[in-house]
């Protein structure tokens, strides 16, 4: 690990200003992803601004009848909140499908959104990677790409966004609230939060330098059956090959988003009108623009089958 200086910020605006002031500074929340990457020298911050004292660890009801989830609410606390389990069950199910109990106790809501890809070429510092080292090339294209993206990818990078929680947040039309170094706040629709990175795969989100996530908001509950199916190489504690988050109503209508397939949670709202006609009708539209590799073409069929399983569970 490279040496760094460390401070604890006392307010969100102060934290944002502290990171903006020092080149090489980064926010530190739970640290479960950042410290791992620092040990591998994939991340080499020279200054860490620890945000744990910012009191952003509450879940409150909003005036609109939704929930406002503080950026530092731990994954376990979010999944366990009875309002979430009852009204936004897909979010609880997505969170507990990810990582391990130990990691979920430490990982935060904002940190989970910002977790970086698990592409093996990103992790192996002997390999070229445009995300780790812009301009160095992509080892995954033409390499071993079984786990990697099938849609929304580019000629510079075919990595995926690896998380589960954000797939449920995308389905639920969440917003990401932030404060910038000047103290200005904004609310980013989750669908615009993770970028389709094109030829700048090192720029993964729409956050500006020093901009700090303060909360994630959920609109009012939408009812329906909440389901999250995750297909992976072992039954627990593994990243998704494909995951499906869905809310399905008794008449078969609903919403669906996919994880493990793209640089961001993948949802095509226009395809959702096809939900009453079955999984194939939906995925034909959702993955119409897919550009799989020979290694990961299987994900397309897997996505259809996983959605069919979700639909069957909703009917049961």
């Amino acid at each position: 690990m490279k040496a760094f200086t460390y401070e604890r910020a006392q307010s969100p605006a102060q934290a944002a200003a502290a990171v903006a002031r020092k080149p090489g500074a980064k926010f530190l929340a739970g640290g479960t992803n950042l410290l791992d990457l620092m040990k591998l020298q994939i991340e080499t911050p020279t200054h860490l601004v620890d945000v744990q004292d910012l009191k952003l660890d509450r879940i409150e009801e909003t005036a609109e009848g939704g929930l406002r989830i503080g950026a530092l609410v731990r994954n376990t606390a979010l999944a366990s909140d009875m309002r979430v389990r009852r009204d936004y069950g897909v979010l609880t199910k997505a969170i507990v499908a990810g990582a391990s109990g130990q990691l979920r106790n430490k990982a935060t809501t904002a940190g989970n959104l910002l977790q970086r890809t698990r592409c093996p070429y990103f992790y192996d510092t002997n390999q070229p990677c445009n995300k780790r080292q812009p301009g160095s090339g992509c080892g995954a294209i033409g390499g071993v790409s079984r786990q990697l993206g099938v849609i929304g990818v580019s000629d510079a990078c075919i990595a995926t966004y690896p998380g589960d929680m954000a797939v449920a947040l995308r389905l639920l039309d969440a917003h990401v609230e932030t404060v910038d170094p000047q103290g200005a706040v904004r609310s980013i629709p989750i669908g615009e939060f993770h970028r389709l990175w094109g030829d700048t795969p090192h720029l993964e989100t729409s956050l500006k330098r020093g901009e700090l996530i303060t909360a994630v908001t959920l609109p009012r509950p939408i009812g329906g059956r909440h389901l999250y199916h995750k297909v992976r190489d072992r039954a627990s504690y593994a990243f998704a090959l494909v995951s499906v988050a869905a809310v399905i109503h008794p008449d078969g209508s609903g919403r669906v988003a996919f994880g493990g397939v793209a640089p961001r949670p993948w949802r095509v709202e226009a395809a959702e009108e096809a939900m009453p006609r079955g999984a194939q009708a939906v995925t034909a539209q959702v993955f119409a623009e897919a550009r799989p590799t020979a290694d990961n073409r299987f994900k397309l069929q897997l996505a259809t089958r996983t959605l069919a399983g979700v639909m069957a569970e909703a009917r049961a």
Binding site: Y6, L28, D50, T76, Q102
Partner: protein
């Protein structure tokens, strides 16, 4: 620096001297001796309450909670398996919740209450989970065991508090202490010797007694 004295230039001290955090142990003189340019080690104070005792330490900012426990406080019950959050050998209980101590900086734990395997029980007065691991043969080599036991104790607490899991049929209902539940909740603890089924028996035993 006082924390390095007990081991001095022992084999352990020399071995860890190869790592950045261990440099503090080896260079008993000036802490920032001959730093590489642009990579100057920085130390900061932190106090931790470990197994009921307060410790004031001056640590390289890079020191993980795991290395603080093992290399500075010499509580070597907690093990380093992967150092990357993948194996669970380093599991300790912080403020009542289990975490991977390898993926946390010691500085993040200012004032926190840390319980390690040494704090759960003693050879004379074992924690019920430790006794159950012995009775049910919940280990072979024992390397993963401190992490397994800390995790197991915390898992039963999580089930009591109603923390939901991936295998729960109804996420609004209270979770049960079933074999399936325990296996899912313990998936962050890897055992190279494959003692899993006996670990499950030990946990069932303790859960049954406290139910």
């Amino acid at each position: 620096m006082k924390s390095g004295d007990a081991f001095g230039f022992s084999r352990r001290g020399v071995l860890v001297g190869g790592s950045a955090a261990g440099a503090v142990l080896v260079h008993a003189g000036p802490v920032q001796a001959a730093p590489a340019k642009g990579d100057v080690p920085v130390t900061m104070p932190v106090s931790l309450e470990v197994n009921g005792t307060r410790h004031d330490l001056q640590l390289d900012t890079r020191t993980t909670l795991l290395d603080a426990l093992r290399e500075h406080l010499h509580l070597i019950g907690t093990k380093k398996g992967c150092d990357h959050g993948q194996c669970g050998a380093c599991t300790v209980i912080v403020n009542g919740e289990r975490i991977n101590s390898c993926l946390s900086l010691a500085l993040q734990h200012q004032g926190d209450k840390v319980t390690t395997i040494e704090g759960l029980g003693t050879p004379d007065k074992l924690h019920p989970m430790q006794a159950a691991f012995i009775e049910h043969d919940g280990f072979q080599c024992g390397y993963c065991t401190p992490g397994q036991i800390c995790s197991a104790v915390a898992v039963l607490g999580e089930i009591r508090r109603g923390v939901p899991s991936h295998v729960q049929e109804d996420i609004v209902a209270a979770p049960a202490v079933s074999n399936q539940e325990l296996r899912e909740r313990m998936s962050g603890n890897i055992c190279r010797c494959g003692a899993y089924s006996n670990i499950m028996e030990a946990m069932q035993h303790v859960a049954g007694e406290s139910a």
